[in-house]
C-alpha cells in the first residue's frame, strides 16, 4: 500500500465513517436540531460564519499553544524534581493530585478576580494549569522507573543528573512523554474554552459557542464543537509529527 496515501487515508476514512454514522443516527432517530444537530446541518453554519470561525479559531489556538508550552516546560521541570527525589515525590504528588481534583471551572472565577481584565493571561493560565499534570506525571515516572543499567552508562562517566536526564531518561521516556502530551493537548484546549465560556471575554471559539447559545442557534453550537475537535486533531498531528522526529525509533511492528 502506498504509505502516504495510507497515512492520510486511514484517519480520513475513519473520520468520514464517523460523520456518516452520526448523520445516520440523527436521521434514524429523527432528532431535532436542539437535541442533536447532524453534520449536514453544520455545513451552512460553517459557511455563514466562516470568517468568525477563522478569527476565533486562531484566538483559541494561540492561547492553547502558549498554555501548552508553559505546561511542557513547567511539567518537565516538576517531573524532574519529583523523578529525582523520592522526598519531593512523596511531598508534592498528593498536593498536585488534590489541586487537579478541583474542577477548573471553579478556579476560573478566582483567576478572573485575581487578574481582572488580563484575559490573555487568565486563559493561558487555565490552559496551563489543566494540562501540566499529565506531563509532570509521565516525566517523573520515566525518571523514577529508569532501569539502573541505563543510568549507569552515564553515571559511570561522572555525568550529572541533569545530563542523565537529557541523554538517557528523557529520550527513553519520549514515547510516554508524547503520550502525555497528546492528553495534555486536549486538556489545554478544554482549559482555554472553559475560560472563554465561564468568564467570557468575547474572543475565541468559546465565545462563538456562547453567542450561538444566546440566539438558540444549535447548528452553530455543534459547529463550534466540531471546530474544536478539528483544532484538537490539528494539534494532535503536530504532536505526532514531533513524535515521529524525536521518538520514531520506539514504534514497533505490533506482535
Amino acid at each position: 500500500m502506498n504509505s502516504t496515501l495510507y497515512k492520510v487515508g486511514v484517519p480520513l476514512a475513519a473520520a468520514i465513517l464517523f460523520l456518516l454514522f452520526w448523520e445516520w443516527l440523527v436521521w434514524v432517530n429523527g432528532w431535532p436540531n436542539y437535541k442533536m444537530a447532524s453534520p449536514s446541518d453544520l455545513v451552512p453554519a460553517f459557511w455563514k460564519y466562516r470568517l468568525l470561525f477563522i478569527e476565533n479559531g486562531w484566538q483559541t489556538l494561540w492561547r492553547t499553544v502558549v498554555g501548552l508550552l508553559l505546561a511542557v516546560i513547567a511539567g518537565t521541570a516538576l517531573g524532574m524534581v519529583m523523578g529525582f527525589s523520592k522526598l519531593m515525590r512523596d511531598a508534592l504528588y498528593p498536593l498536585l493530585v488534590g489541586f487537579n481534583a478541583i474542577p477548573k471551572a471553579t478556579v476560573v472565577p478566582i483567576l478572573a478576580l485575581m487578574f481582572v481584565g488580563e484575559h490573555n493571561l487568565n486563559t493561558i493560565l487555565i490552559a496551563f494549569m489543566i494540562s501540566f499534570f499529565p506531563i509532570a506525571v509521565s516525566v517523573s515516572i520515566g525518571l523514577s522507573t529508569l532501569e539502573p543499567e541505563y543510568r549507569d552508562i552515564l553515571r559511570s562517566l561522572g555525568a550529572s543528573r541533569v545530563t542523565i536526564f537529557w541523554k538517557i531518561a528523557l529520550p527513553k521516556t519520549l514515547p510516554e512523554f508524547f503520550g502525555a502530551l497528546k492528553v495534555a493537548v486536549t486538556l489545554a484546549f478544554i482549559g482555554t474554552n472553559l475560560m472563554e465560556i465561564v468568564s467570557p471575554h468575547g474572543r475565541g471559539l468559546g465565545s462563538l459557542f456562547d453567542s450561538g447559545k444566546i440566539s438558540a442557534d444549535y447548528p452553530l453550537m455543534f459547529a463550534v464543537l466540531l471546530a474544536l475537535a478539528f483544532l484538537g486533531i490539528v494539534l494532535y498531528y503536530i504532536v505526532v509529527l514531533l513524535e515521529k522526529i524525536f521518538a520514531g525509533w520506539a514504534e514497533r511492528a505490533p506482535g
Binding site: 436542539y34 476560573v108 472565577p109 478566582i110 468568564s199 467570557p200 465565545s207 438558540a216
Partner: protein, 314 residues
C-alpha cells in the same frame, strides 16, 4: 392517581423558585391531580429544549429566548402558556456614588458587561428607547464572576445584569444598599416580557385539563409566597441545604415587587399578556436579532389554558 409531570426551572433553586415549591408543598399540584418533580436548570436555553423534546411537559423560561428558539427551530412543539415575569429582570445596576441613577447618566461612564449576558443583549433597544449616545459609553467586557466585584471596587460605574442577582451580590460585597441604583430596563422603555411557564404543545393538546390545573396550582403557589415570602424561602432552603434563608427571602421579595406583582398584573391579573406590548417586544428583539422568518406572536404564547380574566392576585 396523580399524573407524573416533571417540571424544569430555568435556573438553580433560588428565592423566586419558591412559588413552585409552595405549589407542591402546599398541595396545589396534588389537588390538580399532578405529581410534579421540580428540576433545576442551567439557563433558559437548557430548559426550552428539555420541554421541546417532550422529556419535560412543563418548564419555566425566558420568553425572549423562546422566540429565538422557535425562529431557529420552526415547528418545535413548545410554547408559553402563562406569563410570570411581567417585567423581565434585565437591568443596569449602578452606584449612585459613581453618578449613575438614570439611564442618561451612563453617558461618559464605564459600563461592565459580560458578552453573553442576557441583560446586555437587551441593551441596544434600551439605549435607543432612551436616546442614549452609545458612543459615549465605554463598554468593558467583564466575566460573570468579576462583574459585581468590579463595580464594588469602582472599576466600572455600572453593570448589566439581572436586577435581583446583581443587587444582592453587591450587598454581599459590602456596598451600602442605598448606594445601589437598579435601573430596570422595563421601566425605561423596554417592552420585553420576562419568564413564562412553557409547555410541550403535543402534551398540552392531549391533556388540556392537566395544563389548566397546573397553571392554577402555579398561581396559587405564587399567591402563597407573596403572602408569606419567609415561608417560601424556607421551602427553598429545604431543597438547597446551604441556602441562606434571609437572603432567599429577600431575593424572592425583590422578584415579586419588581417582576411579578407589577401594576399591570395587579390590574389585569397574573398570567396573560398584552398583544400590543408583545408586538413592540418582538420589534425590539428584531433590533438585535435577525429573524429567519417573520415573527408571529401567536407561535410564542397562547392564553388558551388561562382562565377568563387571568389569575387575580388581589
Amino acid at each position: 392517581a396523580e399524573t407524573k409531570t416533571p417540571f424544569t426551572l430555568d435556573w438553580k433553586f433560588e428565592g423566586p423558585s419558591a412559588a413552585y415549591f409552595a405549589a407542591a408543598d402546599n398541595g396545589h399540584f396534588a389537588a390538580a391531580g399532578l405529581d410534579v418533580e421540580i428540576s433545576a436548570g442551567k439557563g433558559s436555553l437548557d430548559a426550552i429544549p428539555k420541554v421541546a423534546t417532550g422529556a419535560f411537559p412543563f418548564g419555566f423560561a425566558d420568553i425572549n429566548s423562546l422566540v429565538k428558539f422557535l425562529d431557529q427551530n420552526p415547528g418545535a412543539p413548545v410554547t408559553a402558556v402563562m406569563m410570570i415575569y411581567d417585567k423581565p429582570p434585565f437591568a443596569v445596576v449602578g452606584r449612585k456614588s459613581l453618578g449613575v441613577e438614570t439611564p442618561k447618566d451612563l453617558e461618559g461612564k464605564v459600563l461592565g458587561a459580560p458578552p453573553p449576558d442576557g441583560a446586555w443583549a437587551q441593551f441596544p433597544p434600551f439605549a435607543s428607547a432612551n436616546d442614549l449616545d452609545v458612543s459615549a459609553i465605554t463598554v468593558e467586557p467583564v466575566g460573570f464572576p468579576t462583574r459585581e466585584p468590579m463595580l464594588a471596587e469602582g472599576k466600572v460605574a455600572a453593570v448589566t445584569g439581572f436586577s435581583f442577582s446583581s443587587f444582592l451580590n453587591l450587598v454581599r460585597l459590602g456596598v451600602p444598599e442605598d448606594d445601589i441604583s437598579t435601573i430596570l430596563m422595563a421601566d425605561y422603555g423596554l417592552s420585553l416580557y420576562g419568564n413564562a411557564i412553557i409547555v410541550n404543545t403535543e402534551f398540552a393538546e392531549a391533556n388540556p385539563d392537566l395544563v389548566k390545573g397546573f397553571l392554577g396550582a402555579v398561581a396559587a403557589g405564587w399567591k402563597d409566597v407573596i403572602a408569606d415570602p419567609a415561608a417560601g424561602a424556607a421551602m427553598v432552603a429545604k431543597r438547597n441545604p446551604a441556602a441562606d434563608v434571609d437572603l432567599e427571602a429577600w431575593r424572592l421579595k425583590l422578584a415579586i415587587d419588581d417582576n411579578v406583582a407589577t401594576d399591570y398584573v395587579m390590574e389585569n391579573g397574573m398570567g396573560g399578556i398584552d398583544a400590543e406590548r408583545m408586538e413592540a417586544a418582538l420589534a425590539q428583539i428584531g433590533e438585535t436579532y435577525e429573524f429567519k422568518s417573520a415573527p408571529d406572536a401567536s407561535l410564542y404564547f397562547t392564553d388558551a389554558y388561562l382562565p377568563e380574566g387571568n389569575f387575580a392576585l388581589k
